[in-house]
């Protein structure tokens, strides 16, 4: 995406309350991460310093500053899922992949991370695979989707 296109993308956010958060979402949605160049452009459009923009980007878990793998697996580790053996699910996945979560899979295709509450708490353990919710997740089912 060219600088001009990026500016056009985020300009409408100027009119919204908390426009800079909208702008960061827009950059995440179209580029996938917010690098220094994007921060510079956001800072310029919103009349802020790059440091201020960096402060905002680093505060929120959703905003990433590095390119992300094409697939995302997020495992809910909040209490209700723990009550339904989310810890065992994590251990089984870690054992199978010989790694510690959070991590990227060996082929670099999937980012695996934790999340805290997806709102389907009686149906845990809950995971999302590329944003799609899965209830009562088993290690076999999750690994088959990687």
């Amino acid at each position: 995406m060219s600088e001009t296109e990026l500016r056009e993308l985020i300009k409408p956010c100027l009119k919204l309350a908390g426009g800079i958060i909208h702008a960061c979402h827009a950059v995440m949605d179209s580029i996938g991460y917010i690098d220094r160049d994007s921060k510079r452009i956001i800072a310029d459009v919103f009349n802020l310093s790059i440091a201020e923009v960096s402060g905002i980007v680093s505060f929120y878990h959703d905003f990433k500053t590095e390119p992300q793998p094409p697939k995302q697996l997020r495992i809910c580790m909040a209490e209700a899922c723990q009550a339904n053996q989310a810890r065992k699910l994590v251990a089984a996945i870690e054992q199978n992949l010989h790694t510690k979560i959070p991590c990227h899979t060996a082929n670099g295709e999937t980012a695996i991370g934790f999340t805290y509450c997806l709102g389907i708490c009686p149906n845990g353990p809950a995971v999302t695979i590329d944003g799609k919710l899965l209830a009562n997740a088993s290690a076999t089912e999750v690994l088959a989707n990687l």
């Binding site: 919204l16 309350a17 905002i56 909040a78 209700a80 009550a83 805290y116 845990g124 009562n136």
Partner: protein
């Protein structure tokens, strides 16, 4: 053509909704997407129109839809379908509830009959009379703090300003809670109507819904409801031809539990890091952009239309003492029948877990329940006969919070859960104050050390002192309430720390 009502709630999505929907189309059902009835273990739930009744089946799998179609013409064969539930209204999980906030959820498609009848009926009333009625009802904030709603409303209304705001806190981050999500997915019109009524009563012309990014379906559903409302002049300029105008937009959060704290939320909504503000001033006096702002949880605002329809006095008849009205409890974790249970205050925790929940899902004995999210207390069997009211819960050092109840069986390790309580605080602390930012890390380390500590008594004493510091010196409830689960675990399950 047979009409079926299919739940398209997140519960249903997570359990195969999309395949079931495809199967419904393939067999020629006329299907209607509706919200969830709240019986989470039966999702995806499908209700088939049969004469005047709706017969429910669940959890329905895609390959069971054909048999449903074949059986659709006869009441006898319907009953023999393996997933036959019968009428939801007759189901004992449902028929013992008092559905006020959730009176519409799961009944018809969103915006099928777009009317804000309660707003319309109240638009010729004096705004102060509306607030008086709210006071009579005794409604308290459902987000967790339980603060009397009318005080906030009156403060916002009486503070002189050129602009006031209604902000809906939809950053439902507490584990074990999902009533906000269910309402926004299943009946967003009630939330919008509640916000508009609050806007009329408080003299605010603008509302924001601060929605957490983990709820994409709620985002879609809210935007759809807002667009339907504008098309029908339920939002926008001169609503119902009156002088009252009200606009609502959704603001999407970006993954920060702390933004559920009202001042962090306002910081975030103004486009900054979601770090908390020191109170005072209260948001009701100087909130969003330093203007008087009514910040309420989704359920508090969505309670308003049904409350006004019922009348403040009748509403106050429900519940016990100063805990009036109904609250949608959310039963979750290791429980056989989890879901949404709207009841007047005053039932016991045991009734919910045993009578509604049917005990643990694993079949192992019950050991603990955490009430009110990650900052809520762990209860043992000995406390389960406590009534669910703000006052009774306070009496045992617990809180109702947002109404979430998470059940654990005997495999739970409360030392592990206490370590997690500190760890969660570490991950989600906004970093503004030291007791929370550093205390959470030290607490986690202490809990890890307790696994094989050589001086457990001294370490436990240190944890208790740390809890005192966090409780008294933190700027907000994140650091201030993290000690609650830890202390309750230490007190009620001491053997896990030995």
């Amino acid at each position: 053509m047979t009409t079926v009502y299919l739940s398209n709630d997140s519960f249903a999505y997570a359990n195969g909704y999309e395949n079931v929907k495809r199967a419904c189309i393939n067999v020629g059902f006329e299907y209607v997407d509706v919200g969830s009835r709240g019986l989470a273990w039966l999702e995806p739930l499908i209700e088939l129109e049969h004469g005047q009744d709706r017969i429910a089946f669940g959890p329905i799998a895609a390959d069971e839809v054909t048999a449903l179609k074949e059986a659709a013409n006869s009441a006898v064969t319907l009953k023999s379908h393996p997933k036959y539930i019968g009428q939801i209204e007759a189901n004992e999980f449902f028929n013992r509830q008092t559905r006020l906030v959730f009176r519409n959820a799961g009944i018809e498609a969103i915006g099928a009959t777009p009317t804000f009848n309660t707003l319309k009926a109240n638009l010729d009333r004096d705004p102060h009379a509306l607030i008086d009625e709210l006071e009579t009802s005794g409604l308290r904030g459902r987000g967790g703090a339980g603060f009397p709603a009318h005080i906030k409303w009156r403060t916002v209304a009486n503070t002189v300003a050129d602009q006031r705001y209604i902000v809906c806190n939809a950053d439902e981050g507490d584990s074990g809670t999902f009533s906000d999500r269910m309402l926004m997915e299943g009946d967003p019109m009630s939330l919008l109507e509640g916000m508009a009524i609050a806007g009329y009563a408080c003299g605010a012309s603008r509302g924001y819904i601060y929605l957490r990014s983990e709820y994409p379906l709620a985002h879609e559903s809210l935007n759809n409801a807002i667009s339907i409302s504008y098309k029908n002049n339920l939002l926008g300029e001169k609503i119902f031809g009156s002088e009252f105008s009200f606009d609502v937009e959704v603001f999407l959060g970006a993954g920060a539990y702390i933004c559920g704290e009202e001042t962090s939320l306002l910081e975030s909504l103004e486009g900054r890091r979601g770090q908390i503000r020191v109170k005072p001033p209260l948001p009701a006096i100087a909130g969003l952009y330093q203007k008087p702002t009514l910040v309420h949880n989704v359920i508090t605002l969505a309670s308003v239309p049904s409350l006004l329809d019922l009348g403040g006095e009748n509403y106050a008849e429900l519940g016990i003492g100063r805990s009036t009205g109904t609250i949608p409890f959310q039963l979750a974790g290791n429980v056989k029948h989890g879901g949404l249970i709207e009841l007047p205050f005053g039932h016991t925790v045991r009734e919910l877990i045993e009578e509604f929940g049917g005990g643990t899902r694993s079949g192992r004995p019950f050991r603990a329940a955490q009430i009110g999210g990650p900052l809520g207390a762990y209860l043992s069997d000995a406390e389960l006969d406590t009534r669910l009211t703000y006052e009774d819960m306070q009496g045992i050092g617990a809180g109702i919070g947002h109404g979430g109840i998470v059940v654990f069986d005997e495999t739970v390790d409360l030392r592990e859960q206490s370590e997690y309580a500190f760890e969660f605080c570490e991950i989600e602390s906004c970093g503004k104050c030291t007791p929370c930012r550093i205390g959470s890390v030290r607490g986690k380390e202490l809990m890890q050390r307790l696994r094989q500590s050589t001086n457990k008594d001294a370490d436990i004493q240190l944890v208790k002192e740390l809890c005192d510091v966090m409780e008294h010196a933190s700027l907000c409830q994140m650091g201030g309430m993290t000690p609650i689960p830890v202390r309750s675990a230490l007190e009620r399950f001491p053997e896990d720390f030995r």
